[in-house]
Symmetry: C2
Subunit: 137 residues, 2 copies
Amino acid sequence: MFGLIDHVGVATEDLDAALATYEGTFSMPVVHRETIAEQGVEAVLLDVGPCHVELLRPLGPETPVARFMTRNGGPGLHHVAYRVDDIDATLTELAGRGIELIDTQPRAGIRSSRVAFVHPRATGGVLTEIVEPAEGH
Amino acid sequence: MFGLIDHVGVATEDLDAALATYEGTFSMPVVHRETIAEQGVEAVLLDVGPCHVELLRPLGPETPVARFMTRNGGPGLHHVAYRVDDIDATLTELAGRGIELIDTQPRAGIRSSRVAFVHPRATGGVLTEIVEPAEGH
């Protein structure tokens, strides 16, 4: 069903400090930076072989990532994303298996990907994203 | 420095329920099951392409994973692990870059791997593991 772990999402209050660790210390190349207003974040994507780390800075206190950091007591691991070839087929299959989806239809994700979230209630407390990358990524 | 995301660790109170999701609904094959007394967990490893999900059930209330679930308010995403070819060289390099390590020397991980943890203080709140898989994995 899933090809691999596409990325982990890391919530941060300070993108520069996070980049000092992930780009500086861990030598992960930055491949993309984007403000995704719909999700209330500024996001930076770094390569880790075929996978990525996605750093997420909330655009305001009422955004999902800011609320996550309040609940979490600070920055940390926010979600995991699995890569698929055909997100429409995957969502149909997951819905058919009775899993609770946040998004029953794909929406726009980072770097022109199509994404959908599965509810953490359905996955043992893990916010889970499904990603169909844009062609060429 | 890191080859790819080796796995995400998911803390759970109920391995059977977690397996119903990850093996059942998400069709991830179970490839290994092991009690790691030193880490206070029973762990199940599932394949996601070249990556894995590691389900972790604490063996008692005073274990790190049980304490994580108390802090977290329940089960959830516990850590991310990056794969390396030579964990000794990686730890030397990370220490040379001044990053705070929990383990300055590798210790035994799941499925005969060698692992070490980086302190969440050094990584924006993300418990981060470095994994050198055993030969053949």
